[in-house]
């Protein structure tokens, strides 16, 4: 059961029309988005036309796809040829891609309708969706708080039930952390499971596209649609995509849940710790075995992660220079000035900070001490996880150390902001799949998420465990008040 699955079934059978589904969706967006600023662009006419086309397809006797008539939004760093792809940056303010990302074509092939593009921290660099050309996105549970980031827009669009599913990207937690802050399901697939073609790169060796949904079932269906091999992405895995919606129902008794004590130590808020611990207990009740695991190099993960992400970013973002496309400074004196001023004016402060730190880390004389060392730590962390998965099937841990923090709280303290990724970066460094699941509310009524991390390409097991947990709880069914407007 899931909203996406139900909608698609109704449209496929003809019980609902895609046009009616879209109509309702646009009404919700129009009444709710002003309060939270989740979307950066949407085109009602195009969305309605797409929905009508799907209805016509059905009327013509064609069988509709797995996402028949389902309205979705995608993060604005995923390329679409039918609308701008701004990455939340002035430097791409009016940029329209010449092609659709692989995942966008997959969605369209499955007869989903892409209603619009969702907000993000500029170039996916941030954990709060405060750093965007389009202004910050707000948390629908409390608009004084951030929705998390960098995929805050797609998370909020689902949390406030404007749409039932969306796509974000996750470089160090950018899907899972906002999912946890907003009380929805967020899935980061294993590295290589989903093609990155058409995702504007931040940290190429870490980036992965994944879905937000209100249930594990819907997340599984979304993954089923967007996963698969793509010749255009050399890092995409050439392995068949399992039918995840079937895999959900695998029995889980006897499965081993690994727990690392160090993940429950200092820095973790009590509310979060208690909720995650009680979720782990539920898994034990469901017949899972809880096993202790060690992650000896855990404490170096965040430093290693930021070093690698920033180094790659410094190179990935070099192409935004005002020469070929995007923002160009007016009246530059010469070539060097055109580069410096276009980039100086086009990028926001956080992006510039990361480019400069990444550039520094790759500079001759510093490379070995920073970038190369970070790569070595990354290898050690992978070894840690290989060892851990000898003892368990999935690992349980928090998503973020706290619930949603206040707007502005960490803007002036980048280090504090970076530390909010402390539990999520492992999966990116080690190429694991991981899911964030709603598991409770704190004293202020803000959602809490917990995280299950599976082995590379272990999505089937991961989703079955998550699904089983979901069947024992109703946290995922709760929506903020905004969702009722």
């Amino acid at each position: 059961m899931g909203e996406v699955i139900d909608t698609a079934a109704l449209v496929r059978s003809g019980s609902s029309s895609a046009a009616d589904v879209m109509d309702a969706c646009l009404k919700r967006i129009n009444s709710r988005d002003k309060a939270v600023n989740a979307l950066v662009s949407y085109d009602e006419d195009r969305a309605r036309a797409d929905a009508a086309r799907i209805d016509k397809k059905r009327a013509d006797g064609q069988t509709l796809g797995k996402l028949a008539g389902v309205p979705v939004v995608v993060k604005d760093n995923i390329c679409t040829e039918f609308s701008r792809t701004t990455c939340g940056s002035k430097i791409l303010e009016s940029y329209v891609s010449q092609f659709n990302a692989f995942v966008v074509d997959q969605l369209i092939d499955a007869d989903a309708v892409i209603v619009g593009k969702a907000n993000l921290d500029e170039f996916a660099m941030g954990s709060s969706t405060e750093f965007s050309l389009h202004g910050g996105t707000l948390n629908p549970w409390d608009t004084q708080r951030v929705p998390g980031g960098s995929s805050g827009g797609p998370a909020v669009a689902v949390a406030s039930r404007m749409v039932s599913a969306s796509l974000g990207s996750d470089t160090g937690g950018s899907i899972r952390q906002p999912a946890s802050f907003c009380g929805v399901v967020g899935l980061k697939p294993s590295y290589g499971r989903v093609s990155r073609y058409g995702l504007v790169a931040y940290g190429s060796s870490l980036d992965q596209i994944g879905p937000f949904a209100t249930s594990v079932d819907d997340a599984a269906l979304m993954l089923e649609v967007i996963a698969g091999h793509d010749d255009r992405d050399s890092t995409s895995v050439n392995e068949d995509v399992p039918v995840y919606t079937d895999a959900l129902h695998q029995p889980i008794d006897g499965k081993r849940v690994g727990v690392c004590d160090a993940c429950f130590a200092e820095g973790l808020s009590d509310d979060v710790r208690l909720s995650v611990e009680s979720s782990i207990e539920k898994m034990r009740d469901a017949g899972c075995e809880i096993v202790p695991i060690a992650l000896p190099h855990m404490k170096y993960a965040i430093a290693s992660y930021y070093m690698i992400a920033m180094a790659e970013a410094s190179s990935n973002l070099a192409r935004f220079d005002g020469v070929h496309y995007g923002y160009r400074a007016a009246e530059p004196r010469d070539l060097a000035d055109m580069y410096a001023t276009s980039r100086g004016e086009g990028f926001g402060a956080e992006v510039k900070r990361r480019i400069m730190m990444g550039t520094y880390a790759l500079s001759s004389g510093y490379y070995d001490a920073y970038y190369l060392k970070a790569l070595k730590v990354r290898r050690l962390i992978k070894v840690d996880f290989d060892a851990a998965y000898q003892r368990c099937d999935v690992i349980a841990l928090p998503v973020a150390p706290t619930t949603a923090f206040a707007v502005g709280e960490k803007v002036e303290d980048p280090l504090a902001m970076y530390l909010s990724d402390m539990y999520t970066v492992f999966a990116n460094l080690a190429g694991l799949c991981a899911i964030s699941l709603p598991c409770g509310f704190d004293g202020s009524g803000l959602p809490i998420g917990w995280q299950l991390m599976g082995q590379p390409l272990g999505e089937s097991t991961l989703l079955s465990m998550a699904h089983h947990y979901q069947s024992m709880t109703d946290y995922h069914l709760q929506a903020p008040e905004l969702a009722t407007k």
Binding site: I78, C79, T85, C87, L92, Y95, S97, Q98, F99, A101, R196, Y197, G198, L199, V200, A201, G203, S204, S205, D231, R232, D233, S234, T235, A311, E312, S314, S315, A318, R319, F320, D321, V323, H324, Y325, L335, Y339, T359, L362, S363, S364, Y367, Y371
Partner: protein, 494 residues
């Protein structure tokens, strides 16, 4: 001061060579290669570096690089990876170039440069794959235009050790390497189109009364002819020696190494920048490309594509086929010519006559038509037969050329063509004597010269022979004609 008195100098040159590979498509995208297409007509989001695009390795380029490595006796890496070389320039859309930094596809090798007097071995340091940049066009007034057709074209960069010690050897090495890359089919290496570019690193070891000095190294950028390689090295060495004599501090390690350009019009190298000001390229492994593992099977397969290389083939032509080294060089220069030559031998053609006709007839016909010998449309069997009937004296040499030309458009065999064109050599003495007599009768002044003007006699005999050939329609046997002219015009002893 006399301490600077130079006793001996030795030029030290290492070469960097860029070779554009003749793949179907660019290094990382599906665009075709182009050299004279309208600007920006061979581009796509990938080679334009648009956000969201990703590179995919061209497997053909990989094979070509391995083939080149094998031809240069290089150690082929079993594991090779891709690195980004970061620098900003408008002709580089991503502002990084995908290249190979610490694990190049081809490691150490060597290239044996043949010479009758002074054979040498040039060690290869490495050869790696990378993508070419586009072109900035500055000659359009206030603006610089960028053409990205070339962006992403696969390049093989070959780097030698500094084992070359004269400009002439550098010339010979470049020419030999050029022949090699075209021979193994990895590049058209058209130098006018910049498909092969040379960058010599030059300095000089100077022996003087106080010991040994070395000058700073100059890298001469982007030379695109063998001649400019030779001239630039010659000039640069002399310049460095003069600079060393004039400046006390001009020593390797003290003064800066530099990049220089070659001004072909003025015949001088010109300063571009010092190496100290060189970029920090901030190399990093390209996370968008997976490292490549090269299996033994793949190596074996590629090794079978490796033809006999030009130097070895030349040697064999001289030792086994008794060709002169000059003829061997001419025939081996292009693989298609040498292949056709050997096929014709296989088809029964006489080697000696074949080698002569290959050069004097077939290559010259191809050159006249500005094409390759393989494109003339003649078969090895036809070539062999023509050489055979010439060798047997069935036709004479000038008839052979006429028949060869006819063969370009007429599918009949050389023997049939000889018949139809009336070029079968007549060996009948009586008939020939009649033609000779006619020539004598019609050319009294020439006859007069033969008989009584020793200074002009030889030329006059030649003239008469030509007349006989003309009268006979080319059928006369020139040897017999010569004998008869001599016989008929020798004053009879009374």
């Amino acid at each position: 001061m006399s301490a600077k008195q130079i006793l001996k100098t030795r030029i030290i040159v290492g070469m960097e060579i860029h070779v554009q590979l003749r793949t179907q498509t660019k290094m990382f995208c599906g665009c075709g290669l182009s050299f004279d297409a309208p600007p920006n007509s061979h581009v796509c989001p990938v080679c334009l570096g648009h956000p969201g695009t990703l590179p995919v390795i061209n497997k053909q380029a990989l094979r070509f690089a391995i083939l080149a490595g094998l031809a240069m006796n290089c150690r082929i890496a079993s594991y090779t990876k891709w690195d980004r070389k970061n620098y900003f320039y408008p002709d580089l859309p991503k502002n990084y170039q995908v290249s190979q930094y610490d694990l190049p596809i081809c490691g150490e090798g060597h290239f044996d440069l043949p010479s009758e007097t002074d054979p040498q071995t040039i060690r290869i340091r490495r050869a790696h794959l990378e993508e070419d940049a586009g072109k900035n066009i500055h000659d359009t007034g206030a603006h610089t235009l960028v053409d990205l057709n070339r962006a992403g074209t696969p390049l093989l960069e070959i780097v030698t050790e500094p084992d070359i010690h004269s400009a002439a050897d550098a010339y010979a090495f470049c020419a030999e390497l050029h022949r090699l890359v075209t021979y193994i089919g990895i590049s058209d290496a058209n130098m006018q189109m910049g498909q092969m570019r040379f960058e010599p690193n030059v300095n000089v070891e100077i022996t003087h009364r106080e010991g040994l000095s070395k000058t700073p190294i100059a890298e001469i950028k982007n030379l695109n002819s063998f001649r400019s390689v030779k001239n630039a090295i010659d000039y640069e060495a002399q310049r460095q020696i003069a600079a060393w004599e004039a400046n006390p501090g001009y020593e390797l390690g003290q003064a800066a190494n530099e990049n220089r350009g070659w001004n072909d019009d003025r015949g001088v190298t010109e300063f571009q920048r010092t190496k100290e000001a060189a970029h920090d390229y901030r190399y990093l492994p390209d996370p968008d490309l997976v490292p490549v593992t090269i299996s033994e099977t793949m190596m074996k397969e590629i090794r079978t594509d490796l033809p006999e290389l030009p130097i070895a083939r030349r040697k064999r032509f001289v030792s086994d086929l008794q060709l002169s080294s000059k003829d061997a060089e001419t025939i081996v220069d292009h693989r298609a010519t040498a292949d056709l030559f050997e096929d014709a031998i296989e088809a029964g053609g006489p080697t000696d006559m074949l080698s002569k006709q290959m050069i004097n007839i077939w290559l010259s016909l191809a050159n006249d038509r500005q094409t390759d010998i393989a494109n003339l449309g003649v078969s090895a069997a036809g070539i062999a037969e023509l050489a055979g009937i010439t060798d047997r004296g069935d036709i004479n040499k000038s008839a052979a050329k006429q028949i060869a030309e006819a063969m370009l458009s007429d599918k009949q065999s050389p023997r049939e063509l000889a018949k139809h064109l009336g070029l079968v050599q007549v060996k009948d003495t009586a008939a020939t004597q009649a033609w000779v007599q006619q020539a004598i009768d019609n050319n009294a002044p020439a006859v007069q010269d033969v008989l009584s003007n020793p200074k002009k006699a030889k030329a006059a005999v030649g003239f008469l022979r030509g007349q006989v050939m003309r009268i006979s329609g080319g059928q006369a046997d020139p040897k017999l004609v010569g004998e008869l002219i001599e016989k008929l015009l020798t004053p009879k002893p009374d």
